[in-house]
């Protein structure tokens, strides 16, 4: 069985690995975010310090000399990273290295950060000036003569650091998540394989092979612990089942002799009494009842015999058509007796491996039931067809049908359907069929139909050894 992705997801190792991947990514985000935050606040602090110093230097002193100071600064600012601007009261540029009064910069003697058409960045490969949006921090100070002094510094570094950190985050996050997923996938392969082995084993156990045990890898991990617990349970269940079965079998065996004796004694008493005696009639009735009891017993013992059969000694290649022909010949008069339309449609199929006499017994039982539970003038149809390469025998009748709630129960010993309407029977027939099916590895199902019943016998699978 090839595990699906869905199954991988169900494996805890896989989930754990994925969860750790996500956690690591989050931790990474937190770490890099922290670095970013610390770095930017440090940078802001330093920039703000120098802006403060600069603006104080410009502002202090004679307002008339400010123009010259700004001009000087523009000339000597080799790094071209500072912003200087002297604006008139109408915010018209008098002198400076910014084209216009920065929008969004309040004139309040405080440093603000704003979007800034950056100063040309350092792009060694590309000499052309870039129209990139950068950042800047600046202070706007109103001067006593009504002019406005803007002093600031380009702060595009911060945006760049942000981009670098974001980039690092994306790359590392992707790598971590990919590692987590693939690691989880690889790690879950093994447990999945073990789970699947356990699943297959339990399916076989459900199918009736109670001697099987869960695979234990010997690593003593949690799966092994569980498997060992289940195995202990299986040992106990098997022991109990054998015990119950052997008790039932022993009862049946032990009662066989006394029952035979009872039948013998009753028979002798009946033989010795006069035929027209009232006692003779009573003995006749007692004998009939004992015979019924004996045949019930034989059926029970038969079931345990079939169930206990360890070998497939009587198995051979059988043409299902031959079996059906024989059964049809046997039952046709019975159906005719009840004016039941009895038909057999057998198409050719491949041969099946079966014990012919047991198969015949099983099919006889099913047909017998079909005829028994079909009223006069009804119909019983037997069809043999090959479905998906598997020979399949359908027995369809127009009888009273089976209650859908009883589909499972009718296979159990002594269970008699609710709709038997007082028909004769002990409720053991289908148990014999079930035992025979089990021995062959065949399956018997009752298909849900609106009226009547439809038994389907699939001659599939490997017979039990």
């Amino acid at each position: 069985m090839k595990p699906t992705l869905r199954e991988h997801w169900r494996i805890s190792t896989f989930r754990l690995a994925t969860l750790f991947g996500v956690l690591f990514t989050l931790a990474n985000v937190a770490l890099l975010g922290m670095i970013y935050w610390e770095t930017s606040s440090y940078l802001v602090h330093r920039i703000d310090d120098s802006i403060d110093t600069m603006s104080t230097y410009f502002k202090d002193g004679d307002p008339d000399k400010i123009l010259a100071k700004v001009n000087d600064a523009l000339v000597y600012d080799l790094r071209k990273s500072n912003i200087y601007g002297l604006f008139g009261p109408d915010r018209k540029l008098i002198v400076g290295n910014i084209p216009a009064f920065p929008a969004g910069l309040p004139i309040d003697n405080h440093i603000h950060q704003f979007a800034h058409p950056a100063l040309p960045q350092y792009h060694p490969s590309n000499a052309a000036p870039q129209e990139e949006t950068g950042l800047a921090r600046a202070i706007a100070r109103p001067l006593s003569n009504g002019d406005i002094l803007v002093v600031g510094r380009d702060f595009t570094q911060l945006a760049e650091i942000k981009a670098i950190i974001l980039n690092a985050l994306m790359v590392s996050g992707a790598v971590i998540i990919a590692l987590g997923l693939s690691g989880g996938f690889l790690l879950s392969l093994r447990p999945l394989k073990r789970i699947n082995a356990i699943r297959e084993t339990s399916q076989q156990i459900v199918d009736g092979d109670l001697s099987l045990r869960m695979p234990v890898s010997g690593r003593n991990d949690e799966v092994d612990m569980l498997a060992s617990i289940v195995n202990l349970m299986l040992v106990e269940i098997e022991r109990l089942l054998t015990e119950v079965k052997s008790v039932t079998d022993n009862i049946a065996h032990d009662l066989r002799t006394p029952l035979t004796r009872v039948r013998l004694l009753l028979y002798r008493a009946q033989q010795q009494s006069a035929p027209d005696d009232a006692q003779h009639q009573m003995l006749n009735k007692a004998l009939t009842e004992t015979d019924a009891l004996l045949s019930r017993f034989r059926a029970l013992l038969r079931i345990s015999e079939i169930e206990n059969r360890q070998k497939k000694a009587g198995f051979e290649l059988v043409d299902p058509r031959d079996v059906l022909r024989q059964v049809a010949e046997l039952f046709e008069p019975l159906a005719e007796d009840k004016s039941i339309k009895f038909s057999v449609i057998a198409s050719s199929t491949k041969m099946i491996t079966a014990d012919p006499s047991l198969l015949l017994e099983a099919i006889s039982n099913l047909i017998d039931n079909a005829i028994k539970f079909t009223p006069h003038d009804g119909s019983v149809e037997i069809r043999l067809l090959q479905q998906d390469g598997i020979p399949c025998i359908d027995i369809i009748d127009s009888g009273c049908g089976i209650d859908s709630r009883e589909m499972e129960a009718i296979m159990k010993p002594f269970y008699r359907g609710n709709r038997h309407h007082g028909e004769a029977g002990y409720g053991l027939g289908l148990s014999i069929v079930a035992a025979i099916m089990h021995l062959h590895g065949f399956s018997l199902t009752f298909l849900p139909v609106k009226s009547g019943s439809h038994a389907r016998l699939l001659c599939t699978g490997k017979p039990l050894l």
Partner: protein, 231 residues
Amino acid sequence: MSNSSQFSVLTIEDDPTTAEEISAELRAHGFQVETVADGKVGFDKARTGKFDAITLDRMLPSMDGLSVVTQLRAAGIDTPVLMVSAMSDVDERIRGLRAGGDDYLVKPFAVDEMAARLEVLLRRRQAPALVVKLQVADLELNLIEHSVRRNGELLDLKMTEFRLLEYMMRNSGQTLTRSMIFEAVWNYHFDPYTNLIEVHMARLRKKIDTPGLPALIHTVWGSGYMLGVRP
């Protein structure tokens, strides 16, 4: 049923009550019966060859039934043996018959069934194996022509009916139980659950015992059927 007075039967059975009842029933059928509870003792008695038939339990102290019959056959004793066993499985039956048993009866059984089977076994011993024609009163069955005549009139029988009639005519005058018929005619060894045999028998009866002629097929209460002229 008194036609078997000349026969002596050895019953090897370890359960005293069963042995007692078997012998009572067989005596009622006119057999002379000797019972033995031990396998080894039974074998020693049987190998004298003085019995006409043997009923043999499968499980016995000191020597089991299979060994008894195997060694009897090895010693050249061909007395008919009816095996009695608690195991109904076909495999067991086949093993019993292969070892040399002539018939196989599963416990719990009815003694009348055992008696009926023994009578058929003894009768088989006497009957010539190859016959062309079977006749009971005015009923004639020709095995070569595959035809049946009653009172000179040709009857139309189906395959199964013919086989059933042949079996009954070969064993005419004998009580044939349902399971004997089921085994002999259909070769099936499971319980015919319903009135299957009755239905088949009724069909045959309708064709054989036409109104105006004396009935040849009789129902033996509680046991089975018999073909023959009622005395």
